[in-house]
């Protein structure tokens, strides 16, 4: 059985990728069958820390309409049903705007002449490989949204489909609380919301917590760069009864190692300790829930 663990945050740059790559690597170092899944397809960074050897790559396509001009009577029904302005009948032709299309299939279904078929349009790529870490190895999957494409969720869905069955799946979510984050978190067994102890961190944590509560997913928080700002995040978590899995202090030396792309549990025994304890806590929690 796969445990799907997701790292997310309302605010960007709180340390999701550092923790996600670190936790996946620590699991592999401990001999677990683990996969790291980078769902931040707009700005994927996990490969910069895990240096995977890619074995497989495939294009992600979304269905968009193609109109058979011979069969089309310019009735305009397709434009009426499309909620996204992606297809519209003009006096002499039907115009399509593929980059606005959500791939719902509504126009194809509504066309009384059967003049619309669906064709694939490439929006990104999914890659799959393996990464070596000291004393082990793990599976690696990430997705890359093509530059200029607006919609990340189809690529995120493809990344999650590509992830091989494993004992532990660590999902690195895109920041924010909008559709990309929701697509990445869907079906998670446990969510870690990474935050920082500042007013911005707290405000964005509240939004992220509300979102995962609405999705009915169990979650806890990690306070990164602890000791930097104020104690409002701690107080809020205590009031709300939200578990704080770890408080990781800011160390300039670690920030420098991160900036060079070093995998932190390999670079620092202190970091390895934090990651080990977090992983223990999360796995124990899951076992408790299963019983």
């Amino acid at each position: 059985m796969t445990i799907k663990l997701a790292l997310a945050s309302g605010k960007g740059g709180t340390g999701k990728t550092t923790l996600a790559t670190g936790l996946a690597a620590v699991a592999a170092m401990r001999g677990l069958d683990a996969v790291y899944v980078d769902c931040d397809v707009e700005e994927p960074n996990g490969h910069l820390f895990l240096h995977p050897e890619m074995e497989h790559s495939r294009e992600v396509q979304v269905p968009v309409p193609r109109v058979d001009e011979e069969a089309c009577t310019l009735c305009g029904r397709c434009g009426e049903v499309c909620q996204f302005g992606a297809i519209t009948a003009l006096p002499n032709t039907v115009a399509t705007f593929p980059e606005l299309c959500h791939g719902c299939g509504g126009c194809t279904m509504a066309c009384p002449e059967g003049a619309i078929t669906e064709v694939g349009r490439a929006v990104g790529t999914v890659e799959h490989g393996r990464a070596e870490v000291p004393g082990g190895s793990l599976s690696f999957v990430h997705g890359v949204l093509n530059v200029g494409e607006a919609m990340a969720p189809p690529v995120i869905d493809a990344v999650l489909e590509e992830a091989p069955p494993s004992q532990l799946m660590v999902v690195d979510s895109p920041p924010g609380t909008a559709c990309p984050m929701i697509a990445a978190l869907r079906g998670s067994d446990y969510v870690v919301l990474v935050t920082e102890p500042t007013p911005f961190g707290l405000s964005d944590l509240k939004l992220a917590a509300e979102t995962v509560e609405q999705m009915r997913l169990p979650f806890g928080t990690v306070i990164n760069r602890a000791g930097m700002g104020d104690d409002s995040v701690d107080r809020w978590c205590e009031e709300r009864g939200i578990e704080v899995l770890a408080r990781i202090p800011f160390r300039r030396r670690l920030a420098e190692a991160y900036s060079r792309g070093e995998l932190l549990p390999a670079a620092s025994p202190e970091m390895r300790g934090w990651m080990d304890r977090m992983l223990d806590g999360i796995l124990a929690r899951r076992e408790g829930a299963a019983r």
Binding site: G10, K11, G12, G13, T14, T17, D40, E42, E43, N45, L48, F49, V81, Q83, F84, H102, G103, C104, G105, G106, M109, A110, L145, V147, G148, E149, A150, M151, A152, P174, P175, G176, T177, A178, C179, P180, I182, R186, T198, P199, F200, S203, D204, L207, E210, T211, Q214, M215, M228, G229, D230, R252, A255, E256, Y258, S259, R260, G261
Partner: protein, 288 residues
């Protein structure tokens, strides 16, 4: 103001710039993590409801339980238990209306949803337009466009010639909505392997959109090496390099004190931010 990577310090710099350029409207377009309200304690002058589209709901009394809606929905928004009428999970409803087209019993309600609010507010630094997304609702690109539209209209009425937009991380829909048609994209990068990688994708987006770009590096002294790489990348892509902002604990202290960094202290990172803005301003003046 955009960054590609999250957490580079965009909002701190945007807050500072909006103080240094008081004759401007500040637009918080990071609508799914809007934070500028924490710095400027805005007093709302008016609010406007925002709908990004419609959402589906099953009308149980009309539903015959045929399950057609469940079959046609490509977003897995329907869940069904036994012979009960299916239920739509609003979080996953894309608002496409295909279920309504397919339903033989006309049992799908498909009405505009309330997805958020746009506020026009007065603050100590001047006018500010900001927004709030309703819980679990999307379409942040459309909301970004509405915030920008209201900010531009307000600036026009007050004869202000600048709108400062605080954008969101990434390169997807809300970022495209924030960048389209701006006079200058000010990109704040983080000096790390991730920061370099993410800036590259952002620069390629702005060039596709035909937008002039300028780059600054925040907390540059964490990695002089990566800062050098970012400066080289800016030069190679024809983006102006606006300067380096040093790592300074007082930036966080300012935010804790609910101040823009340039309001809270004078030298250090605050002076670097002033320098970045002076150069950005002269770029904008050169454009006329």
């Amino acid at each position: 103001m955009v960054s590609g990577k999250g957490g580079t310090g965009k909002t701190s710099l945007a807050a500072s710039i909006s103080v240094l350029a008081p004759d401007s409207v500040l637009a918080d377009c990071d609508v799914d993590a809007a934070d500028l309200y924490l710095v400027f304690d805005p007093r709302r002058l008016d609010s406007e409801e925002f709908s990004g589209g419609s959402k589906a709901a099953v009308i149980p009394d009309l539903c015959t339980g045929c399950g057609r809606c469940v079959e046609v929905c490509r977003f897995d928004a329907f869940t069904r238990q036994g012979s009960e009428p299916p239920v739509v999970d609003q979080t996953f409803c894309e608002g496409c209306g295909v279920c309504r087209l397919a339903c033989p019993a006309d049992a799908i309600d498909f009405s505009p949803s309330l997805d958020g609010w746009v506020y026009r507010s007065a603050t100590r630094r001047g006018p500010m337009v900001h927004a709030e997304l309703a819980l679990g609702r999307e379409n942040s690109g459309k909301l970004v466009s509405l915030v920008r539209k209201r900010a531009a209209q307000w600036a026009g009425r007050k004869e202000l010639d600048l709108v400062v937009i605080d954008g969101s991380p990434g390169i997807g829909c809300p970022v495209i909505a924030s960048l389209t048609g701006v006079d200058l994209a000010l990109m704040l990068a983080e000096p790390s392997v991730s920061g370099v990688h993410d800036l590259q994708r952002l620069l390629s987006l702005s060039s596709r959109l035909g937008v002039e770009s300028a780059v600054a590096v925040n907390r540059w002294d964490i990695s002089p090496e990566m800062t050098g790489r970012i400066e080289d990348m800016a030069r190679e892509t024809g983006a102006e390099f606006l300067g380096r902002i040093r790592y300074d604990d007082r930036v966080t202290e300012a935010i804790v004190a609910r101040k823009a960094p340039v309001e809270h202290f004078g030298e250090g990172a605050a002076e670097d931010m002033r320098q970045v803005w002076r150069r950005a301003e002269s770029l904008l003046r050169r454009q006329g």
